[in-house]
Amino acid sequence: MELTSVFNPSSPQAWAIANLGIFMIIIAGTILAIIIVLVTFISYRFRRKPGDDEEPRQVYGNEKLEIVWTIIPFLIVAALFIFSVITMVKVNPSSAIIEDQKPDLVIIGHQWWWELHYPKSGVVSANEIHIPVGKKMLVRLESIDVIHDFWVPEVARKIDLVPGHPNYMWLEADEPGIYLGQCSEFCGIAHAHMRLRVIAHHQEEFDVWEKGQLYVPPTPRSGEAGKGSKLFKEKACMNCHSIAGTDAVATVGPNLTHLATRTTIGAGTLLNTPINLAKWLKNPKGFKPGALMPNMKLSDDEVNAIVAYLEALK
């Protein structure tokens, strides 16, 4: 998998921050180097020689020197401050934009997964954010329970998802690819497993993806999958999940309409393979301790049927 480094930016916003970071590292490195060299030198040069019992000359201070080392850090800090203000403005959507532009994407934090809405097209998804390369997406972030925090180091700033206080940010990627991220504000037991990925495509591929998400898959009537679709109703899965084209419309858990197109399950906990899906359905908490999906006590047959059904949802 790729490196998820802050210094591997792939969007203008992340670049701006990384540049500030490099500036900061240079400043801090210089200051630190000076201090380490000074302290080492002093420790060597001014250590007491054995047998030397004279008190050294008593120096009580030097006002000019003190003033100098008050003012120089002040100037450094001033420079850093100006640079950060410039960066801040660059990275953030201004309040004027927030007020009159509709968001391209709404992310809603849940205890331990991400609900995604593309209000302009109506796509609903979870945990995997698809974006077109080079487009500045205005993202609105909300939470329905506790505070979460969106963090995909390479493509965007980090920002909290706060209940009752929607936030906005830019999300953009320069290169196609998969960018890994994770919830970064402690939000309870499964906080470690609240991962997410941003998948950037070229515009055409993105359009294809979007169209695919809008397509309502037919409900299989026969075979394993047909059995699965029935079980989905009977086993109360629909109390929590929604699947387009069926009666399942609940939003407690992730939307499963196009589950098969996603690469992971349980917010990045497992790779989305039929085997893993089966494992998940048998015992979600075994892989994601604390997950709010209950163990539905399904038999192996039932699991296989449901897996077949969910795999058919493309």
């Binding site: 998820t4 200051i31 420790s43 250590r47 054995p50 009580y60 030097n62």
Partner: protein, 559 residues
């Protein structure tokens, strides 16, 4: 150690405190020295507990996808670790140090309110027990992080009683700390020896005075936050419940309104220790007493105006971030004054590297590393990447361990002779120092990198991404080295209590009044206190021909 001129011994050495007394006399004691020592014992015990919690976490984090500890326990561990280290280790230790030393340094017999002093101590201990009570009983300790962000710490999301006990425990320690703070302030302004004007008190006392003001004014903010949280949890009030219109962010404002002054409560007394240790071992007066006082006051005042830097990622708007960014960065200026002043004090001296001085020197460098990463956070956009990542964990340990704890160790090696009448073994001490220095940097230096690579904090497990594994492994190895060095230190204490060299009144040939008293000091501290003419009374006694320059700090004279 070779001795530069002798200070006359004014009292006969007395038996060790506690040797002739039973346990009960300790429990009922109102003597500031006994209370101070009880603070040290409590703090060191809690340090072992908090450290063991950290070790458990590190073991779990040594490999990706590890299953050594389940997430419920892990979450309790880091919460208890943070809370313990902050409220039950560093604060009690530093407050205890103040309680022990302030009266001695200003030539008083005891604190202004000895009974209040004892009460503060016992309330803090009680708080500690309250905090650990649910950990030991089956209901489970608090698991919401040491800043207990709402709404996670509210009833609907934390059904166990952990956070309730947590809040009650912090209320107790808070009340104790406020009382100690006020007690310190009044002791310092009313009980100074004749001639000891405000400009002649040791810098240690000055910095504790500033800390005490922070204690008296910052902790009530936390107390208010805690009672509102408790009302929410117990009486179903709605302060922080977004579902009924409450604000999730309000708690953060209140908590950090306390929390940031708190970190200076944790570090100013550490500065205070360094302000004593460095001059004595460099055989020079502090380079610019006035600037040290002024910068401490500036830090104390600024500390109340920067809490928003913990909330840069909350999304409070560019103006908010800009202002808090500015205020936070400004703190680097007075702190820098302190660092440079210490370095200048060493310059031109004749430095004797006792273990205390080694810790003090290491402190200067480690704290600067922590401070600089702090300034990086103060640049809000960097926080927008790095908050709540392991970079923060690295920052807090560089300032809290490399800062406060290193200073505490310097202080222990420096004052242990005064407390017990015996020196800590220097040989074992050096062993302890080097192991700790290596272990510490090994543990936390790499956390900067793993943070920059995108690892969030407070995760009980992590995926096997490139470099994450070995960085975390190194960190775990470092933690084990660190733990080993702590064991050596504990051994040193027990060993030296029995076998240590007899100290005498003033083994380091230091200049402040506490070294005039016997080691350990008798109950009444001093038989007589000399009239004070300068900030270094014992220097004056030793060098009647070349007295300390009382107005030196403003003229910058050289002698």
């Amino acid at each position: 150690m070779s001795r530069i001129p002798w200070v006359p011994e004014t009292t006969e050495p007395l038996p060790r405190v506690g040797e002739s007394e039973g346990l009960l006399t300790w429990a009922a004691s109102v003597d500031h020295k006994q209370i101070g020592i009880m603070y040290f014992i409590a703090a060191l015990s809690f340090f072992c507990i908090g450290g063991l919690e950290a070790l458990l976490m590190r073991i779990q984090l040594s490999r990706p996808d590890n299953n050594f500890i389940d997430p419920e326990l892990f979450n309790q561990l880091f919460t208890m670790h943070g809370t313990t280290m902050v409220f039950l280790v560093i604060m009690p230790f530093l407050i205890g140090l103040g309680v022990y030393l302030i009266p001695l340094m200003i030539g008083a017999r005891d604190m202004a309110f000895p009974r209040l002093n004892a009460l503060s101590f016992w309330v803090v201990v009680f708080g500690g027990l309250l905090l650990y009570y649910p950990f030991i009983t089956q209901s489970g300790a608090t698991d919401v992080g040491w800043f207990a962000y709402t709404p996670l710490s509210e009833k609907p999301y934390s059904l166990n009683n952990g956070p309730t006990y947590w809040a009650l425990a912090l209320l107790c320690t808070g009340i104790g700390s406020v009382a100690s703070g006020i007690n310190n302030i009044i002791t310092i302004i009313t009980l100074r020896a004749p001639g000891m004007t405000m400009r002649r008190i040791p810098l240690f006392v000055w910095l504790l005075l500033v800390t005490s003001f922070l204690l008296a004014f910052a902790i009530p903010i936390l107390n208010a936050g805690l009672v509102t949280l408790l009302l929410d949890r117990i009486l179903e009030a709605n302060f922080f419940a977004p579902s009924s219109g409450g604000s999730a962010i309000l708690w953060q404002n209140v908590f950090w309104g306390f929390g940031h002054p708190e970190v200076y409560i944790l570090v100013l007394p550490a500065f205070a220790i360094i302000c004593e240790v460095i001059p004595v071992f460099s055989r020079q007066p502090i380079f610019g007493y006035g600037f040290m006082v002024g910068s401490a006051i500036a830090i104390g005042l600024l500390a109340f105006g920067v809490w928003g830097h913990h909330m840069f990622a909350v999304g409070l708007g560019v103006p908010f971030n800009t202002y808090f960014s500015l205020a936070s960065m400004l703190i680097a200026v007075p702190t820098g004054v302190k660092i440079f002043t210490w370095i200048a004090t060493m310059w031109g001296g004749k430095i004797y590297f006792a273990t205390a001085m080694m810790f003090a020197t290491a402190f200067v460098i480690e704290f600067v590393i922590g401070g600089l990463s702090g300034v990086a956070f103060a640049a809000a956009p960097l926080t927008w990447q790095l908050t709540d990542s392991y970079f923060v964990v690295a920052h807090i340990h560089y300032v809290l361990f490399g800062g406060s704890m290193f200073a505490i160790f310097a202080g222990i090696y420096y004052w242990f002779p005064k407390w017990t009448g015996r020196m800590l073994s220097e040989r074992i001490g050096k062993c302890h120092f080097w192991l700790m220095l290596i272990g510490f940097n090994l543990t936390f230096l790499f956390q900067h990198m793993v943070g920059l690579l995108g690892m969030p904090r407070r995760v009980y497990t992590y995926p096997d991404l490139p470099s994450w594994n070995w960085l975390n492994l190194l960190s775990t190895i470092g933690a084990c080295v660190l733990g080993f060095s702590v064991l050596i230190f504990i051994f040193n204490i027990f060993f030296s209590l029995r076998k240590g060299k007899i100290a005498g009144n003033n083994p380091w040939n230091a200049w402040t009044l506490e070294w005039l008293a016997a080691s350990p000091p008798p109950v009444h501290n001093f038989d007589e206190v000399p009239r004070i003419h300068s900030a270094r009374p014992l220097w004056d006694l030793a060098h009647p021909d070349m007295p300390d320059e009382p107005e030196s700090f403003n003229t910058g004279v050289t002698r």
